[in-house]
Symmetry: C2
Subunit: 253 residues, 2 copies
Amino acid sequence: METKLKIGSYSFAAEPFHCDFKHRLFLGHLCNALLNAADYHSSERGYGMSYLNTMHKTWVLSRLAIKVKRLPKAKEQFVVNTWIDDVMRMFTSRNFTVDVNEDEIVSCKTVWAMIDTTTRRPVNIAEVNNGLIVNYIDKEKPCSASIPDRISLGIDASMQRQLQMEYSDADVNGHVNSVKLIDHVLDLFDISWHRQHAIDEFDIFYKTESHPGDVLSFYKEQTADNEWNVRVERPTDKGFVEVCRCRIVARRE
Amino acid sequence: METKLKIGSYSFAAEPFHCDFKHRLFLGHLCNALLNAADYHSSERGYGMSYLNTMHKTWVLSRLAIKVKRLPKAKEQFVVNTWIDDVMRMFTSRNFTVDVNEDEIVSCKTVWAMIDTTTRRPVNIAEVNNGLIVNYIDKEKPCSASIPDRISLGIDASMQRQLQMEYSDADVNGHVNSVKLIDHVLDLFDISWHRQHAIDEFDIFYKTESHPGDVLSFYKEQTADNEWNVRVERPTDKGFVEVCRCRIVARRE
């Protein structure tokens, strides 16, 4: 086994065409960088998507919680650090920090399941590569993001938008891309809201997969002065199932 | 004046989360890389967006024609070469090639106007930086893409979709991002079309700017066995104006 550091660090640039009208990297593009870093890190350690696909397995992102001090500015270079901080039977916990000039500006915590791509059922992570993944666990490095126990929406949540998923929403597996869902959720807030707010925290729980052609319904509820919850549903033969739910905490600026 | 090569070359990677279900870089993401390369190239030569903004000027993309041999595959490294091949009074012509291991896989031709950001009127490019831009013109390097004289849509073009532009559609200037329009146009073709086709050529003429909140109407017409034209409109006080029109040539695969 090639010896690898537990923490992987990858450099990215906040490219101008990935930045919003405040000249800051879109949160979705930042999450893309996090997921790409996760794929590089796991590939280098024998647990990458491409390798797993050869044995009909893949990683599925289950939960993501991000805490933002500030977002990278246009043209700024940033480093994504990522490491595994826990491996349970069916789930792996992966952390991230984002640094600009060694100053931490973002932290993020994620939970991933490994599934069998034919049965779509979770598989025991210890059965892959003789469970070598546990050698990479780092419980020491701190991560200030935390995943909430639950995200609750009451009966006051109102439907804001229905949107058909298309070709550009699908990822390499043909499912709606986890990050495109984040983009669509943030689009429920109009441009004047974005002008007046900056996102402090964004949490998302992924529930079921959706596909191009699905018409998603987006429900939103304001739960505190600076907090909103969102639920996304898709139709099935028997009614609706939840695709994801989110919690957004923003500050005035 | 610092001496710079006429042709700038910039490396990018086809990150897995920027690839479609065929594991190829989305055309929109490729165009993002082209536009980022254009900004790096022009910034290094004293004509970048950031510098122009200080004098209330900016570049506006007017036409883009791309010719695709193949798209970069997931995780593939690619190099974008870009250079100015002509400067007219109000317009600049910029070319691109995309290489993988020195094999050219994509070529692209663009036309840009420089405008005054307060009046929104074109400005004479020669008046900026003493017209030094002409020193960078390279008419030698070949570029196989070509911009069509016109893109015509007949009365048979039918409305395919109406879509409200949102926060994630806006660029650093607050206008709908040129590349997001390309994504939305390619979304007019459903997933089974994308499964059976690969894009050979994509041409887009940008006509007027649009903004978050605008509801765009997308009209599509098949003009030959392997060719489709698209027109995008937005409402105004006096009816509709054209936002852009496109021509798509695809091959079966």
